[in-house]
Symmetry: C2
Amino acid sequence: MPSATSAAADSHPAGARPRRRAGRPPAAVLDQDTITTAALRLVRKSGYEGFTMAALARTLNVAPSALYNHVASKREVLVLIQDHLTSFVDVSAFDTESWDQAVRDWAWSYREVFSKHTPLIPVIAVLPVADAPKTLAMYEAVSAGFRRTGFPQERIISAIVALESFIFGSAYDVTAPADIFDSGSMAASTPNFTSAVERLARQGLESPADAAFSLGLEALIAGFGALRR
Amino acid sequence: MPSATSAAADSHPAGARPRRRAGRPPAAVLDQDTITTAALRLVRKSGYEGFTMAALARTLNVAPSALYNHVASKREVLVLIQDHLTSFVDVSAFDTESWDQAVRDWAWSYREVFSKHTPLIPVIAVLPVADAPKTLAMYEAVSAGFRRTGFPQERIISAIVALESFIFGSAYDVTAPADIFDSGSMAASTPNFTSAVERLARQGLESPADAAFSLGLEALIAGFGALRR
DNA sequence: CCACTAAATGAATGGCATTCATTTAGTGGC
DNA sequence: GCCACTAAATGAATGCCATTCATTTAGTGG
């Protein structure tokens, strides 16, 4: 069977105009764009705990069931949000900067955007690109940047996936509680870990999350940079 | 206020015996170990969609509310599962192999374990280590390995966090649908991405997820390895 | 003005985590 | 041998949730 209902593909099924045989319905209050915008506004105001279909409908002055004429499920709303957010990820450096700097700028921007939306990560990470056109556009820009710099073609996707995995994982760290490394009463039995945590804290100009992200990202950039030819 | 109720800390609050002033209660059917074991078995059989407090109680022949005498919330059960799973992550190579190989073995093992339990990742990623003693033990083993190889102490935590972020992100990829990169009808407008996907597929002995994980992991190992002194 | 249609409605469904007053049954002290 | 105390288990209730569906509403092209 074909993959699940695709939000994007359904809105313009490649060349086919939306058909209608007879009269138009009444002026629609709702469509996917309206829903996406309202959903994002709601999430920013109430977080993902407060983001329910009922609450979303309320902000649109509409019954909850009305949403289901435009969207198959709550998950589909999350997909719409994620694709919209992806357009805020800055890929412009691939046109203006060196490859190294472009990857750096893109990765920091990507993490920045999704660190405020970590509940979307499980959705994005396994989402077919065909269901998220703006996300696909981002991949295209990044792929083009990799190709231009002489990156071996058969490894472009792997490199991007690896970077993205690192970015998603790192996005969680940004929101972690400050005392996450406090080993509490078990400090005595974990001397190496505990002393490493202290050493980090003593240094710490950057936040721990930023320090880890920077360290890992530079290693990935250096490692991948060496593959170019 | 102190951090949330700690499963592990509550079972042996460092030196204090569990107090009781008067008679013991009836022989308990339930405790955290029993719950953890049953929960893991249920997850393996029914997945995380089928994992509800009611279903868990049913497998234990107990009322759902009985669970709340031993556990504060469903989230706490997830924490118990995650900590238990962490003991299946193999850190033994840090005692027997070179640093490079030990990191490699540990990372593959870590990804392997959690790729079957991705719904736990949002929980683990922001969980204070004090709430997960077996996880803390893993960090201790890894920290010790990094220290032994002459890794700069103030960067040990950052390096581990970076590796872990990469591992968590990569765990999602393992479960992604095979057609995740199929750009479908929009292939024409994304030539660089589409050709990169084809090049990968043409190569592809490994799964795409394995190829990306291997590529990223080797870059991180090489980059971090160079920091040793 | 009619037939058709998509959109919106409101009530209903079933599932969920969690709470709480109450009951149950060991145990240590007398 | 009984009593007082306790932790554990119960079952009913709560409130929230996503989702479904039969029905109603109101533009529009013929």
